[in-house]
């Protein structure tokens, strides 16, 4: 279980998270939704230790990880699909996937099995394994980013807008995959702009606004909450 208590964080002199608390149940999908600039990405980066928290605690498996280095956090089975893909542009697709498994100490065969599994999930990656990742199309890169993160065999996956830039049919697939990996026992914290989609997939959800959690509840509760409906399900 990931438990975030009252964390605050910011960039330089400006604080953008003002005491965020949320809980991600093990084996469940939890979603975090909110407007642009609300602090979703910042929250995920705090969990990863990329952005240092100014206060509060983040516990995972009963350990405060808020002071750990990112490499340590990854080593504890947490992985992030970053916003904006962040693939390694001058490495091949295959090398990118290998980097996803950087922190694993598993046997080579097991990693190879996982690689086969990921390539099956995204056949386009299989057919392009030698292409430089930087020349892939936007959506292809997104798939690569997802695949790369799965290569780490994480227990907790933080997803920052995984559906961004994907064709509808692939969005379906990605959400299928999300459910699949949840069924494999993994824990997921999902950040999505597509709130309807996120909430209808999630067990529990949080709404963040201007660096504060303003609403929480089960996916269905939030989906039916008129405030949420007005602010986040629009269009």
């Amino acid at each position: 279980m990931l438990e975030i208590k009252e964390i605050s964080a910011g960039y330089g002199a400006t604080e953008v998270l003002h005491g965020i608390s949320l809980t991600v149940e093990e084996g469940k999908i939890t979603t975090l939704i909110g407007g642009n600039g609300a602090g979703k990405t910042t929250t995920l980066n705090c969990i990863m230790g990329v952005v240092k928290t100014l206060g509060g605690s983040i516990t995972w498996k009963n350990r405060d990880i808020s002071k750990l280095k990112t490499s340590g956090i990854v080593g504890m089975g947490i992985s992030l699909i970053p916003e904006g893909r962040h693939i390694f542009p001058q490495m091949t697709v295959m090398e990118n996937l290998e980097m996803g498994a950087y922190n694993r100490i598993d046997k080579k065969e097991i990693i190879r099995e996982d690689l086969a599994w990921v390539l099956d999930l995204f056949p386009v990656l299989k057919s392009r394994y030698k292409q430089f990742a930087g020349t892939m199309s936007g959506g292809e890169q997104q798939m690569l980013a997802i695949g790369r993160s799965l290569m780490g065999n994480p227990e907790l996956i933080l997803m920052d807008e995984p559906s961004m830039g994907l064709a509808p049919i692939i969005v379906d697939e990605v959400f299928d995959i999300i459910h699949k990996i949840q069924n494999m026992g993994k824990t997921i914290l999902l950040v999505e702009q597509n709130a309807t989609l996120a909430l209808s997939s999630a067990h529990y959800g949080y709404v963040i606004e201007l660096g504060k959690i303003v609403l929480k509840g089960t996916g269905q509760e939030l989906l039916n909450n008129p405030e949420v409906e007005k602010a986040y399900l629009g269009l």
Binding site: T70, H86, M91
Partner: protein, 290 residues
């Protein structure tokens, strides 16, 4: 002509080695380290001291000196590059900082070892075993052999091993590398240590034939940088080719055309090469797309 080309080879091997140390650090940290030439000098002096004061032989001196200079590299990473990174300083600041390092190392060396040139005896002979067109001296063979050996090792490390790939990943996207669980700080440290050690190795290899002076880093550093860039910064085969390319061009131009304008002509050729291949001989602009 042929003899000029052949005579360019040992010089080329040295340039290649120094080029490699630039390339390595660039491939892993995207840093242009202007103090690289001074690592060569420092390595040579450490080797010299080990030999003079402690009477150590060539091989132990080589390895100890590589280790000592690697430590200096780590120190630079820790005390200079790390704070620069934390403050997200632009690349030009890193260049200026390493320029500062270069000035410091050079003048510290001047204080310690004085202004005179020093001689580090060769473990093998510097006299030719065969004269004529090919002037092969054992020392030159040593340079080329040890140099090539190091280059092959590093090509392997960088391209084939997981850690090597991790270093490249760090250079391409630090944030992404971080969330892969790569310790980017450590990667920087490793890159600085290794390329400093490479520089030291170059220093010890050339000291027996070129002597050691506190400002030898300037010339050799610049030539090594030229070789690295012309081959394609970050590419091991590029650095090697670049090194030999410069070595041979210098020999041919210096012997056949004009010794005074030798470096000028070399630079004109280089600029022409870059004009035709803006990322060096061995790199294509790959992985770029709008």
């Amino acid at each position: 002509m042929l003899q000029f080309i052949l005579n360019g080879l040992p010089m080329g091997a040295i340039y290649a080695l120094v080029a490699l140390s630039y390339s390595f650090i660039y491939a892993a940290s995207s840093v242009l380290n202007w103090a690289q030439g001074d690592m060569v000098m420092f390595g040579a002096y450490v080797g010299f001291t080990l030999y003079q004061v402690f009477n150590l032989g060539f091989t132990p001196a080589l390895f100890i000196s590589m280790a000592v200079v690697a430590l200096v590299g780590v120190l630079i990473q820790y005390s200079i590059l790390r704070p620069l990174r934390q403050r997200k300083a632009p690349p030009i600041n890193v260049i200026i900082a390493t320029l500062g390092v270069s000035i410091i190392i050079r003048n510290v060396a001047l204080m310690i070892w004085g202004p005179d040139a020093q001689l580090l005896p060769s473990p093998v002979s510097t006299k030719p075993v065969a004269t004529g067109i090919l002037n092969i001296t054992p020392q030159n063979i040593l340079i080329v052999v040890v140099g090539l050996l190091l280059m092959i090792i590093f090509q392997y490390l960088l391209k084939q091993t997981k850690e090597g790939k991790a270093l490249r990943a760090v250079a391409q996207d630090r944030y992404a590398a971080m969330i892969m669980g790569i310790d980017t700080e450590r990667a920087d440290r490793v890159a600085f240590a290794i390329s400093a050690a490479l520089g030291a190795a170059a220093g010890i290899l050339i000291a027996p034939i070129f002597f050691i002076t506190f400002n030898m880093g300037a010339g050799i550093g610049l030539k090594g940088f030229v070789a690295a860039v012309v081959g394609g910064l970050g590419s091991v085969p590029g650095s090697i080719t670049g090194g030999f390319f410069i070595g041979i061009i210098e020999a041919v131009v210096g012997g056949q055309i004009s010794s005074g304008y030798r470096d000028a002509i070399t630079f004109v050729l280089l600029i022409l090469v870059l004009w035709l291949r803006p990322s060096g001989l061995f790199l294509k602009k790959k992985g770029q797309k709008v």
